[in-house]
């Protein structure tokens, strides 16, 4: 949807104006780039010594291993968050009121906390509990708690968005509550919410960079260390930033494709979410009244 929505077919005067604006815009963008380039150049940021490390096998290997660490914690935390989120969602939809209350409170509480606060305190809690572990686990657990709460809302929204006839029909066929959930509702909900789930997992991958605050040896921390070693922090951050963009962009392509497939198969079913930042569509669905039981 990159098509301009406000100016479609322009008249001769409009076209001239646009041409003028285009010329000015090109000049301004080129000017800004030139200023940035000159600034970088005069400060020696393009000098070979600052970029050479990126051509050396050791550096590439170090960054690659750090990326593997990033992906590892993202995968573990993602899997844990999916399980935890699923359990929370089922609990929040439970027929037993106290279970529902506890789950609701837990979800709201976890969503109100900044993730970094959880990440900072998780090692302390684990230490209090007598577990002195590598930063991998506190990071994975913090990510699991936070993203689990958000995934729970996504799952719940998915289940609530299904036609109530689905539930009624399966119950009247004699399926039990859990059979209805497991065989009928959850599979449809997950399929419908797949784009949103993938988007949330991308957010999770981005958030693993916060592990740097508790000294988990992921991409950003490694880049920081190498940058100090070679004296090329700026270049390191830029390169690592581009690695994140590349990985996330590839994943978001997958999400987009899933969404399109979803649309084609089920009409306008899929709900697009690009992360916590726009969970609105999901929440609008979830705030719809709880279906009659």
């Amino acid at each position: 949807m990159t098509a301009p929505v406000i100016a479609d077919e322009l008249g001769p005067r409009g076209r001239r104006r646009v041409q003028l604006a285009t010329a000015v815009a090109v000049a301004v963008i080129a000017g800004l780039l030139a200023v940035a380039f000159m600034r970088l150049f005069t400060k020696g940021q393009f000098s070979a010594t600052r970029w050479k490390p990126f051509t050396e096998l050791d550096t590439i290997r170090a960054l690659w291993l750090a990326l593997v660490n990033t992906l590892k914690v993202a995968a573990v935390a993602g899997a844990l968050a999916a399980v935890f989120g699923g359990a929370l969602a089922l609990a929040r939809l439970s027929l037993t009121a106290p279970v529902r209350w506890v789950a609701t409170a837990l979800i709201e509480l976890l969503r109100a906390y900044p993730l970094l606060l959880l990440i900072f305190f998780m090692p302390k809690f684990l230490k209090l509990a007598g577990l002195d572990v590598e930063p991998f686990w506190p990071l994975a657990i913090a990510l699991m708690l936070y993203n689990g709460a958000i995934l729970a809302e996504i799952f719940r929204a998915g289940i609530l968005s299904l036609d109530r006839g689905q539930r009624e029909a399966s119950l009247s066929l004699g399926l039990s509550y859990w059979q209805t959930m497991g065989l009928v509702l959850v599979p449809q909900a997950v399929r419908r919410m797949l784009p949103a789930i993938v988007s949330q997992l991308i957010t999770l991958l981005k958030d693993t960079a916060l592990g740097t605050a508790i000294f988990y040896d992921e991409l950003l921390r490694r880049a920081d260390g190498l940058g100090n070693q070679f004296g090329n922090n700026l270049q390191m951050y830029v390169v690592v930033g581009m690695v994140y963009v590349a990985v996330n962009y590839a994943l978001s392509r997958v999400a987009r494709r899933l969404e399109v497939r979803q649309r084609r198969r089920f009409g306008a079913a899929g709900i697009a979410v690009a992360g916590v930042e726009d969970l609105t569509a999901v929440e609008a669905g979830a705030d719809a009244e709880v279906p009659a039981r």
Partner: protein, 214 residues
């Protein structure tokens, strides 16, 4: 409990910085978002492409990386910012990209007839956008902007990674000794909830006042 009470002043200072980062940063994000959205729906090709690239980059880079780049990276080219300023810059750009996407979805929800009518009345692009489209578009995205704000408030914590003296940083520093970790976590959490509850309420009031049901 004592640890929290003894350091109440520090925590209050941290909360104040979090408030500043939240409000100023979000104001900055709003400006960035409107400009980016305007570029993306406008007729000027290069601006559209530049805005698209910028938005995608911002949405796919972790905020920490961005803050590191501003705070630790830019000094290499003699651009020095305090942790607070770096946080403000980074967060305005980061939240601004999400803001742009939100506003753009609002713009897309305004019936095309509106823009066509405005243009046939002879309004220029900026007039069409500023006088006709945006006022209607922003009304439809009050709730999403509210959600964006609460995400933004929580993201201010990330400024702690570059040493901005805000609530999460303070709580973490005080809680260096593990013993009272739980109390501090609760105290800091209350600080964030103190910000999120009233603004959540404010946005729902705004939503009721502004949204036109069609």
């Amino acid at each position: 409990m004592d640890l929290v009470l003894d350091n109440l002043d520090l925590l209050r200072q941290g909360l104040w910085l979090t408030v500043q980062l939240s409000l100023l940063g979000f104001a900055g994000a709003f400006v960035v978002g409107v400009v980016l959205a305007a570029c993306r729906v406008g007729p000027v090709g290069p601006l559209r492409r530049a805005a698209t690239v910028f938005t995608e980059a911002m949405r796919n880079v972790p905020l920490v990386v961005l803050l590191y780049l501003v705070y630790f990276g830019l000094p290499k080219v003699d651009l020095l910012f305090s942790p607070f300023q770096s946080g403000l810059i980074g967060m305005s750009l980061y939240s601004g990209a999400y803001m742009a996407e939100t506003i753009r979805s609002g713009i897309n929800s305004v019936a095309t007839g509106q823009a066509e009518a405005a243009r046939s009345l002879g309004l220029t692009f900026l007039q069409v956008l500023g006088l006709v489209i945006l006022p209607q578009a922003l009304r439809t995205v009050v709730q999403p902007i509210g959600n964006l704000f609460s995400a933004h408030v929580k993201n201010t914590a990330i400024a702690a990674t570059i040493g901005a003296f805000e609530l999460t940083y303070v709580a973490n520093q005080i809680g260096e000794a593990e013993a009272e970790a739980i109390t501090l976590l609760v105290a800091a959490g209350i600080g964030y909830v103190l910000m999120l509850l009233p603004t959540g309420w404010l946005f729902s009031v705004l939503e009721r006042r502004l949204v036109v049901h069609r």
